[in-house]
Symmetry: C2
Subunit: 266 residues, 2 copies
């Protein structure tokens, strides 16, 4: 074995044995919001997040004591789990979510998923850039508005990197922005963001309730389903005729929450 081949083999083996905290793999199910809303996808939810949003619906991927319980999986184990769930010939999308998946080095995983024929989507708040991001097929940047309690930094740099590296590699993932909306302050935040990035397809999602980390929202209850619809109606009424939202790409009620509440596994 030449030394180059040996280095390659070592790298390959390093890639293969490296593990990631995977909180859950689920699907096929429906994507409830954003650019793939209404489409079927599987999800890989990675543990670990640089944020801690007040209405986070995935606390099990964020709270350190929860993330510590996550399975440690290699890229290959993740791919095999997905292949057991669906044939990439008819179930094309795999969505890498979190937490913030951009905390992890997923270059090898993305390559593996592509080699099996999957399309790869990523959901991230855009606070942290990784070069593997521009290998994927769709990036949904979901910056957190004031109601999250977070300050969304790094977005400027994130989009700049994305553009530069995209051009460098001659590959261009579809990029979209999606902002969760709870109140008027969030709408102001979204309007400013849309104005800053007019060329990026812009989606709004209604936050269903102060649930997740700090609440007890349960979409399985009838009242909560009606609450989702009512809040969706509010958001639609609010953006209709608002000249700050030019040519919105979509306003959605989080279809998955409508169907299944915040239950895990959907």
């Amino acid at each position: 074995m030449s030394s180059t081949a040996r280095t390659k083999a070592t790298e390959q083996s390093a890639f293969s044995t490296k593990t990631f905290p995977v909180v859950e793999i689920f699907g096929p199910t429906i994507q409830g919001e954003g650019a793939l809303a209404g489409q079927l996808t599987m999800f890989v939810r990675f543990g670990g997040c640089d944020f801690s949003c007040s209405w986070c619906d995935s606390s099990h991927a964020v709270l350190p004591e929860e993330v510590r319980k996550a399975a440690k999986m290699t890229a290959q184990q993740i791919v095999f789990d997905l292949l057991a769930r669906a044939d990439p010939h008819y179930m094309l999308w795999v969505t890498l979510s979190g937490g913030n998946p951009a905390l992890h080095g997923l270059n090898f995983l993305v390559d593996q998923l592509h080699s099996f024929g999957f399309r790869v989507a990523v959901e991230t708040q855009g606070s942290m850039y990784k070069p593997w991001l521009n290998k994927v097929d769709l990036i949904t940047i979901s910056p957190k508005p004031p109601s999250s309690g977070m300050v969304n930094t790094g977005l400027e740099e994130f989009t700049k990197h994305l553009q530069e590296d995209v051009y460098a590699q001659g590959r261009k993932p579809r990029v979209s922005l999606k902002v969760p909306i709870w109140d008027e302050a969030d709408l102001d935040f979204a309007r400013a963001l849309h104005k800053r990035y007019p060329a990026i397809p812009f989606y709004l999602s209604v936050v269903t309730a102060m649930g997740g980390l700090h609440g007890d929202f349960d979409g399985g209850r009838i009242d909560d389903k009606l609450e989702v619809i009512a809040r969706y109606g509010w958001l639609v009424d609010r953006v209709i005729g608002d000249q700050g939202f030019t040519d919105l790409a979509g306003v959605f009620p989080q279809l998955h929450v409508l169907l299944w509440g915040h239950d895990r596994g959907h």
Copy 2:
């Protein structure tokens, strides 16, 4: 005035004074299904239909005694009505619906809408082709499945014309298929259609209830909203893992019905 100019002026005036049965103009509101789901649009609903589907949600545009009551409007009157509702600079889409809008000669209307900066979408069952169709920006062909009680003829010819004329004019409207689903027989119909036209983005919509022409579905009632969600859940479960539906472009619950039932004006 030269004779050519006179001919042109006569044509122009013929265009301008020609009227169409308009059952309703409404919006801005949200598109509840298909390729523009979640996006804001205005609607022009034309009276008259070559079909009479069992669950039609627009009987006022179909039943002859209702259509006779429709306002007769010129293209210019339609455009002015729309302009009074929204500035095309921030509210780009106008959706021509029915009934079946392809019953009418809307060439001049489409030109006028474009000249003011609107994008034009059309919803039709694809039973009847008109050359103006390939001037628009988006065509949603919505062939009616068995539960409609209709037999959908003309689709083959419709798509063929569409392709030919599109190439002839060097303009290409986005084309998508959308099938309303009530039961298993409808799913069989949809599956066969998707197989026949694999390259056309394919959307499914759940039919909410046997309402419209022959029923009394009322989306304002709580039970009916929950029924929409339940039936949407059924459809999602049904298509997940169904290898007959490769890479669906979207499955939606008719978002407008969820919000407003079958009330007119939304």
